[in-house]
Symmetry: C2
Subunit: 319 residues, 2 copies
């Protein structure tokens, strides 16, 4: 089988590709080829199958046409303009997050092969004046343009699935922490920086207070869930193929306590608390109490507690 | 003030324009001009202000540019490819319902005048495996392409409002009954035909059983609600500017009983019950139990009972 990963140069895309390389098969079929597509040429990975890297912009239908062909069996659509970025570059967010998703769905439909279409949505789709906890059937009421565009993509995914054009399934990713590498343009970027930088011996800024609550998942578990997502039978998804990916709700205090337990008291002393109103404005609109019942029933899982997230960073990613 | 009505040649567009003509003002300001835009040249109406009719297709940005200018204070976006039609012509639905709405919002944004943008959504956005009754914060989970495209438009409307590009407010219209005129391409078309045709002395076909429940509103009350919608202050709308318009839930029996009470026993005998699987498949996916709390709090209202709907048809519309 042939697998496309959009955003194939990103953190999750690269880790997913490596996991697929270790696994060698998906949905009970041997993997013949993985295509990693991204706006900047994505790094290739070592694998027992063919790995194709491709530069392309999903906001352009002609680029999308190169990414998907009649052989493409599974599509992981991870590419996105992230929250902080889409808030500043509104039209760019529409072009990539909304139109890009539509172009991928239309191209997949054109193939008439009903590929499995795994869509990375986000908990940024959720918010507003809705009761806690947020169920799989609570309204998406995003308070960012990124969340809006992702939520519109969920609707399209569901309809393209209902029509039999694709075998769609969408998951709202919790905030991935600890992300390796450099800060990105997500408003949630600090939710990794405050653990990663101190563990790397560097200073970090935390723009919110110790009692700020949020919903987290480790990169390792996120990738396991994405693998599982592709393997779910279409019939098991019901009338809405979108769901919240399991995660855990923690305060900033919980994160720092876990870091202290795993790595000693020293790293947490490298964190400076400093208000950043633009970031606060976005992240305070996000929700943290979720009941990811559908995903749990389908076999997706969360970490045990945040010490897992710290350990996975040290094991998998620390330079 | 200058008002644009897309779908200005349609039932609701024409009735709204006539209501505005009788009223002469909106939001406390005298109306200077109403622009009626539609794909086929919409009929002009008698009014104490300028009435401009315009042919244009909202799926084309250049047409939308002619519809909205810097003077446009209030936009009523009523144009749509309806449910039965969008189910058959998928790309046409995407082009008009999704892209058309986006083009209108982008054009309104470009003016930098923050026009009031009243968006006619639909209860077809609601469905799926969600608990009854459907609250304003229940997920949209449309089971038609029309509902999907309308729900995506709601998300965009909310985001364009949050960003301050427009003063958006969206209402999910119940099924309008009794619609005058001819059957249209909505799957719900029979929900007017079975009253209208018999009252006009003609036969009608009912493709569902007597116990089929649905959510209805008269055209007269729908227009009153659209007028009210434009007058609501933006701050009163909260974090989601979309809501269900008040209606009443009735069985087919209720409709026929009301027709008998208002017009005697004879018309109901002109109805033939005859299964239509394509129509049934769509309408059985719709919901009928709603709690339109937000709209009621903002002063929108339902009919008293279905006898109103029958009476309004006889008073306002019967040829």
């Amino acid at each position: 089988m042939k697998i496309l990963i959009t955003g194939g140069g990103g953190l999750v895309g690269q880790k997913l590709a490596k996991r697929l390389a270790a696994k060698g098969e998906l949905r009970g079929q041997a993997i013949d080829e993985v295509v990693l597509a991204d706006v900047l040429d994505p790094p290739a990975i070592e694998a027992p199958f063919k790995v194709t890297t491709m530069t392309g912009d999903i906001s352009k239908p002609e680029d999308v046409a190169r990414m998907i062909d009649g052989e493409t069996t599974v599509i992981y659509h991870l590419a996105a303009i992230l929250s902080g970025h889409a808030e500043v570059e509104f039209d760019h967010g529409i072009a990539v997050n909304l139109m890009g998703t539509l172009h991928l769905l239309q191209r997949a439909r054109e193939m008439e092969t009903q590929p499995v279409f795994c869509y990375a949505s986000s908990i940024a789709t959720l918010g507003g004046e809705v009761p806690d906890p947020i169920e799989d059937w609570t309204a998406t009421n995003p308070q960012t343009s990124y969340g809006t565009q992702k939520a519109a993509g969920e609707l399209l995914l569901n309809d393209f699935s209902r029509k039999g054009f694709v075998q769609g399934r969408g998951v709202r990713l919790p905030t991935i922490s600890v992300r390796p590498g450099k800060p990105n343009r997500a408003a949630s970027s600090f939710m990794s920086s405050i653990i990663r930088e101190p563990l790397n011996g560097e200073e970090a800024i935390c723009p919110v207070g110790l009692d700020f609550q949020h919903y987290y998942l480790s990169p390792r578990m996120c990738v396991e869930n994405l693998v599982r997502l592709a393997e779910v039978e279409q019939e098991a998804l019901g009338m809405n193929v979108n769901m919240t990916m399991p995660g855990l709700t923690h305060t900033i205090s919980d994160l720092l306590d876990a870091m202290r337990e795993v790595a000693g008291p020293e790293p947490a002393q490298r964190i400076r608390f400093e208000s950043q109103p633009e970031i606060e404005k976005i992240v305070m609109g996000w929700r943290y109490a979720f009941n990811p019942a559908k995903a749990l029933a389908l076999g997706l899982t969360a970490d045990t507690d945040y010490r897992d997230n710290v350990r996975y960073y040290l094991e998998d990613d620390k330079p």
